[in-house]
Symmetry: C2
Subunit: 364 residues, 2 copies
């Protein structure tokens, strides 16, 4: 626990795509709220990008200038000081950030692209960040789905926080919900619609539209993954299932352990047949205890009209949580966009600060 309020929360952004750039604007937009909550100022001390250079400015850099530079095809290295040799890549930047003397904690925000096979390079970034003495916030499913026990233990050994609310349903509370507001319960199952693109594709089929143009539309809106297979073949939902199983139910699953059927084989005929049977066709994720183990699956299924998941359409997501004692609880996200994902990082920053300086964050 810090003895006095530090001068700043010093952020290092690993990955500077849509989510990280939206975060820059959102931090600006939420500045008064964060100040009211008692957080110290948030400073961006470093940025590592794959194709637009890297930069480390311990006193903090102007986030909006970094956004402009990248969006006009430039390099963030231009924000560094004359004479500085900019870091070559994320790992070089993290190593150097760890050696800085900063007023206030170092926080690494990992938002690189999902790699569902092994969670890399995000997992390496998370480990390097912890090794550099940083707290870690990630919106990347990879490390939580592929390497949970390893990175959880690394964070515990380093006495650093590891937060990842954005991994499932963006900033809509899921992990925070269970941990902070459903205490003294054991989660026994979760079930939900957690992939926006496939939900949209199935709705298109119901309307008699073909899948290909609907997918192109989702990609144009920045919602579908660039690699269509991640959505269409159920990999994204499987990664979320593994993350939920690992974190909420003490499992040790990876996306490959999740029984997985995608939606590519479905047609307008299937969707109409489901509608005729008073059902909706949905890609449903299940995680549940079965005997001594936790089993997870992702597959299209007919959801009956009275089921809450039947009403989850368009870009909505939903998750039903079953515990050992209460009736089920469902959380529905009515729409997803980059702001919702970026908000997950803001929400994790507040959680981080609550843990670092307990009692100093306003209860409001």
């Amino acid at each position: 626990m810090p003895q006095a309020t530090p001068a700043a929360l010093n952020l290092v952004l690993i990955g500077f795509g849509h989510v990280a750039r939206t975060l820059v604007h959102l931090l600006d937009d939420r500045r008064a709220h964060l100040q009211e909550l008692g957080l110290p100022p948030v400073r961006i001390a470093g940025i590592a990008t794959a194709r637009h250079g890297c930069v480390l400015v311990p006193e903090g850099l102007e986030g909006s200038r970094a956004v402009s530079l990248v969006e006009s095809g430039g390099s963030v290295a231009a924000l560094g000081r004359a004479g500085d040799v900019p870091p070559r890549d994320a790992r070089a930047l993290l190593a150097r950030a760890g050696s800085l003397v900063l007023e206030g904690p170092l926080v690494v925000l990992e938002t690189t692209t999902l790699n569902v096979r092994d969670g890399e390079p995000a997992t390496t970034h998370v480990k390097a960040a912890l090794a550099a003495g940083a707290h870690v916030i990630t919106a990347n499913k990879g490390p939580i789905a592929c390497a949970w026990s390893e990175i959880r233990e690394a964070a515990a050994r380093a006495h650093r926080q590891l937060l990842f609310e954005g991994v499932v349903m963006d900033g809509i509370p899921v992990f925070n919900l269970v941990r902070d507001t459903l205490p003294a319960l054991t989660v026994v199952a979760v079930r939900g619609i957690v992939n926006t693109t496939t939900n949209y594709l199935l709705a298109a089929l119901e309307e008699g539209r073909d899948m290909a143009p609907a997918l192109a539309e989702m990609q144009a809106r920045g919602i579908a993954e660039a690699d269509a297979s991640l959505d269409v073949d159920g990999w994204d939902a499987a990664a979320k299932a593994a993350a939920l199983a690992n974190v909420l139910m003490e499992a040790r699953l990876t996306p490959a352990d999740v029984k997985r059927t995608g939606v590519a084989h479905l047609t307008t005929t299937d969707a109409r047949a489901a509608l005729d049977a008073q059902c909706r066709l949905k890609l449903v994720m299940h995680v549940r205890r079965e005997g001594g183990r936790v089993a997870a699956s992702v597959a299209p299924e007919r959801v009956a009209a009275g089921d809450v998941l039947a009403g989850v359409h368009g870009t909505m997501n939903a998750l039903t949580i079953s515990t050992d004692r209460l009736s089920d609880l469902t959380v529905i996200q009515h729409g997803g966009s980059l702001v919702e994902t970026a908000y997950a990082l803001v929400s994790d920053l507040v959680t981080l600060w609550r843990r670092l300086a307990p009692g100093t964050v306003s209860a409001r």
Copy 2:
């Protein structure tokens, strides 16, 4: 902040009806979970009932014996020590509890019957508890709906916590959800189905059944209020609307300020007409900012088939929260019973302990 873990959380139960008696069993059932979270043992030091006596045993009494005594028509005073003069009523008990030297904090749990007009006697109990140096947890809508700013200020002056998660949707997080997991946002509206009995009555009408037997059924199950008007005329939902407006949106409403239309005038014909229009008839609560003020209403309305509230049937409840920045979020409670209400008190006990001893509660 206590310097060392106290020997116990010392509870005084004001009101010992179904909810409080269910809590006694639930505390037993959740003992291992609470211990794992780092809470000290929970001890019942006193009970005040309206018709079954009062008792104060500073070392703690056996809750299950108190339940048996009351359920067999006896008095809890029998649990006191020989020679002790039992307290006459809740106020006498609270005054005496405040003078005890206890190892650990004193926590008053207020669960007396809702009085929607002025929130009494619960508001008086809350104030007396704070004056006695106790933290207060209540599942009673009355004080939050009728006297919010007064009791909030009294708690702040006394440096005591005031928690009330059970006021809306039982133990399903609503107030905790916004405070703990949706930081740095401003709530601009809430909308929902928050009264189980009327939701059930409207479903009965849709099925062609009359309202009176359906209401009798809800009363027999202990879900409907003994005073049918509280449910049927929308008072219970109005009290919840006022509580939500006061706590989440800084309003100063009372139930009487909520524009209110009940369901008593509705018939099977109305319900069928709504169904024929592809809608469901629901008693919907709205709270929203309108110009400079917060307006709240409760009235039956036709909810379109695609609306998430259309799928909220039986004993389900739901609340949609709109903020100034994100897409809407809906929380659905799939079923309500005494366990869910009692769980709200358990959840508040954990929140209380997190605040009293920040950093000592397991983050799991």
